[in-house]
Symmetry: C2
Subunit: 240 residues, 2 copies
């Protein structure tokens, strides 16, 4: 009953799951779904995830989508995952749920909208959205909350905890998506923050070599993103 | 150590929590935070929830925000909550997490944007957002997913389960927010669906009298929504 992960390394929630599995020795088959080819909308994939989004997992006869739900499921289902990733204590666990819930309508919504507007939409033939400024504001506000609220203590990680939680992978992989936008935009977004980049680097170091390996795609694409590069890289890696 | 709930009955996630507590005999003090007066942005409230949003709870020295995290915390912390609300089985629990995660970026994002554009923004002096059509599309797509995916079986509720889950309260209270928009808009949104309104009604019947009691505010406001009515009703109920 080997775990199957339907994934694309361009997707930040997919990378969070891949890193988590590799880090904990969870065996899995990675099935690449090409977003450039729209494979997430095919009838075959919709049997796996009727929402037509990535990631999704199949574990025996059990199917699950939504990356936060998947991370929690993996942390609870596989042996060898240290408690600090998803503590059994109800109050600590609730704090992780709270961060993950916040993520959806804040860091993620702002970042996805901003990156799509600044990079992916023009490449894929879409128009620049007038909402780009709204997304940038939400993204910056979210980064400020991470810097000034969750990283305010001297601990390396959120919630005053020195050991990583599943929420770090979701949030840090989201921030790494900014590597896809032109450097001048990225600098403008990130320059006000000192603790956020350090926390990204700490999380990277804690989860390497899997962190770098999972981000290979987007770091290769940095600055050379085109439709051809998206389709080409998917082919070259032979993940399909 | 009586539970304190910082709430406003205009807020759909607040109503979900209030209904859950009343249904399970969880004693609480309800502290109204007037959104019309912007009380969620005051320094006093930001000590409770630094995000400046509703709801939030204080349980002894423990503070928590984000309604889904709160519902899970309550289901796990208080005795007398039947297992079906948040089953201990890892796979069933993961399905609930999946629905709640999906909710953030789909039903909630579409509904909040649409209702704000159609009702609250004009009243509060804001301009109609050109994104209203995008929000309507996301809202309709989300309702279609509930109708055709989660309610497709003959079970009264999502996931083929006849007994309610915490996710029902979040989703149904969100749909109830459509009571705030003019009837013609509401009808246009809801008319394609048969199972969704029945499911809302079933959830209402299962959780009454608390469901109706919690929705009293928005049903009173229906069709007469003005800034004065918002401030007036907050005053009259003396919840502040």
């Amino acid at each position: 009953m080997k775990l199957q992960i339907y994934s694309n390394r361009l997707s930040q929630p997919c990378r969070a799951i891949i890193i988590f599995c590799k880090l904990h020795g969870i065996e899995f088959e990675e099935i690449n779904v090409s977003v450039a080819k729209g494979q997430q909308f095919t009838p075959e994939y919709k049997v796996i995830n009727p929402m037509g989004k990535l990631p999704a997992i199949v574990h025996g006869s059990y199917k699950l989508f939504e990356s936060h739900a998947i991370l929690i499921y993996l942390a609870c289902s596989f042996p060898g995952v240290a408690d600090h990733w998803y503590p059994p204590d109800i109050q600590k666990r609730a704090k992780i749920h709270s961060v993950l819930d916040w993520h959806h309508s804040n860091l993620r919504q702002g970042e996805v909208g901003y990156v799509q507007n600044r990079t992916l939409k023009p490449i894929l033939g879409g128009k620049l959205d007038p909402e780009a400024a709204v997304n940038e504001k939400l993204l910056s506000k979210s980064l400020a909350k991470i810097e000034n609220l969750w990283l305010k203590r001297d601990g390396k990680f959120l919630l005053g905890n020195f050991r990583p939680l599943i929420a770090y992978l979701s949030l840090v992989c989201e921030i790494m998506q900014l590597q896809l936008i032109p450097e001048s935009y990225r600098n403008r977004i990130l320059i006000p923050y000192k603790k956020v980049p350090q926390w990204v680097e700490d999380t990277r170091n804690t989860t390497n070599p899997y962190f770098d390996e999972s981000h290979f795609f987007i770091l290769e694409l940095k600055g050379v993103l085109t439709v051809d590069s998206l389709v080409g890289i998917n082919k070259e890696t032979s993940l399909v």
